[in-house]
Symmetry: C2
Subunit: 347 residues, 2 copies
């Protein structure tokens, strides 16, 4: 199989704001039909008016006839209320202003200073989301000084269990999982509970981001873990199980922010890099036929994209022709910059 | 106790070469009486003539009346022979050209491409070193693709045991240890076997070098480990046991080499930063009276410094007056740049 076409969905993307938004939206919009847009701008998108305005900015940046539509999220803060959540879905049959709310663990990643420590305090919000059919997206690392960075994802799995067992009807996505422990926990949960996996966490380990080698362009949250973890992620992604869906977590930071004293967390792996690299990986694992579901098919029903279909769902076509990843995109060094990938996107 | 004076020895320093050597030697030479100088320049210092020439360069850079003398080492490569080793100590009573040989694990740190994979192949060299009374310095991480970065030090401990049990009369130093496992292993060995500990590994953990936070200026080999490891190191350093000696591993890299795609490994923590910060730490642990031995006293007999004394052993004086660590030294960003330390060196 030298060509593969499918509807690609990126279930986790950062479009940033201001000067960055305009050049970076098209890099996603040109390849995927839909993408779930993270709300961690500064200030964050936390109320309906902010989310609507942000959606319009993104649509404007994508341009007419892009065939791309953003799926919007809102930032859940410690003082978010059920009434605020209600605003995102004013009537059950309307297209929601946001389809998901995102909880960041306080202080652990970009613009997460406003994030959460006390998860139980948000249970009234989660209850309202369950009632409205809004999806809860979780950055799955437990905050707090008592935990070390490498242990945060594993420690978060108990928080996930508390949430899931309290709200069995709530759709929950643990985003960008990085550990074998997370794969096993998610596998044991109901179909309401899913996980996204990035392309880079399927390729690199801790040894590319601070172990044997350090490239700041491989450094993100959660930090890539060990080989056994990567292998569990690759197995999950290539097994063809709907619990595991592609979310690139494309997180552009200008070079200056990566190179400074305190490196900003984030890998920039837009679909133009991630999808060809995934094709290479899935082919190596004899699972190329499962890529369309991992990188789109499983997301379509879960995010209920067909329920509020507007633009037709365009397809992306990958071809087995080598490409060289660009050295930079508008001042942002991408994942695998300058490296060859054995697949590419048909233009 | 607000003042403390002692003979400071830095048992591990990188003076680099060419343009870097001249400005960086004095930053060590002004504060410590002796320092063990690493041979991993490019090309490495592997034969007696190279080591002698390098020693002269260092003495010239330190300047007359510095009261500083370098203790020289040679780079042990896979093709190093017993005959080459003999050259460093032509007659038993003469001052040796080098007092120690250093083994780098192939590829694991700066200029370690010429390092070793096959340790048993070097046993004839180690035997000759044992006979001549030369010290074996080891970068204690096991090379090889089968091991992940975080596990390399622990995996090396078996190699250390093979060496030590084969050559019971050989003086061995496992340098810049970073793990609880290394502390325990060294503790169980004969008085011939020692370890050095850097200042930065007593202060930071993995969470400052890629876990929770990433500063490339905290990134070195071996990478800082977990909190339990740091605690074991602090205990070892402050216990007042001669097995554990200070070696700063001051490893200057120009900013450009830290900030590039592949970050060069090394923290620059010269004595002017490390000794005051150690005083703060030892005072916090109620062990200030043990700092002089950790940072000098234990090294004097082990490295047999009195046997070939030339310049008198000058003292450094630390005072409990706060200092701010400089933002940079000649283009190199130091450990704790811009941070306050509660002690300083009396000028």
């Amino acid at each position: 199989m030298d060509t593969i076409s499918f509807v690609a969905i990126d279930a986790h993307v950062h479009f940033r704001q201001d000067d960055m938004l305009k050049p970076f939206v098209p890099l996603t919009a040109m390849h995927v039909a839909r993408a779930l847009v993270m709300p961690n701008t500064d200030p964050p998108k936390r109320i309906a008016a902010q989310v609507s305005a942000y959606e319009q900015e993104i649509l404007d940046a994508a341009g007419p006839n892009s065939g791309f539509e953003p799926l919007m999220t809102f930032y859940i803060m410690p003082d978010t209320t059920p009434a605020m959540v209600q605003e995102f879905r004013k009537a059950a049959n309307y297209i929601p202003i946001a389809i998901a709310g995102k909880v960041y663990p306080k202080g652990l990643t970009t613009n997460a200073e406003l994030g959460v420590v006390d998860y139980p305090a948000l249970f009234p919000v989660f209850e309202k989301m369950e009632e409205l059919g809004l999806i809860l997206c979780l950055h799955g690392e437990k905050p707090g000084d008592e935990i070390e960075g490498l242990d945060r994802e594993k420690a978060f799995l108990r928080i996930l269990k508390y949430i899931v067992s309290t709200f069995p009807g709530l759709k929950v996505v643990m985003e960008h999982i990085t550990t074998e422990a997370a794969v096993e926990t998610i596998l044991g949960m109901s179909p309401n509970v899913r996980a996204t996996i990035t392309a880079h966490h399927l390729i690199i380990t801790y040894d590319d981001a601070g172990g044997d080698r350090l490239s700041v362009y491989n450094w993100c949250k959660p930090v890539a873990k060990m080989r056994k973890d990567r292998e569990a992620l690759v197995e999950a992604a290539t097994f063809g199980n709907p619990k595991f869906m592609f979310g690139s977590d494309s997180a552009p930071h200008m070079q200056e922010k990566k190179r400074r004293h305190d490196c900003c967390a984030g890998v920039y792996a837009p679909p133009g890099v991630a999808l060809p690299r995934l094709a290479q990986l899935f082919e190596e694992r004899g699972a190329l036929d499962r890529l369309p579901n991992f990188a789109g098919g499983f997301a379509l029903p879960f995010y209920e994209i067909l329920n509020y279909l507007q633009a037709p769902l365009k397809e992306v076509t990958l071809v087995k022709e080598p490409m060289i990843v660009p050295d930079d995109y508008h001042g942002v060094i991408p994942f695998l910059a300058g490296k060859e990938i054995s697949w590419s996107i048909k233009s």
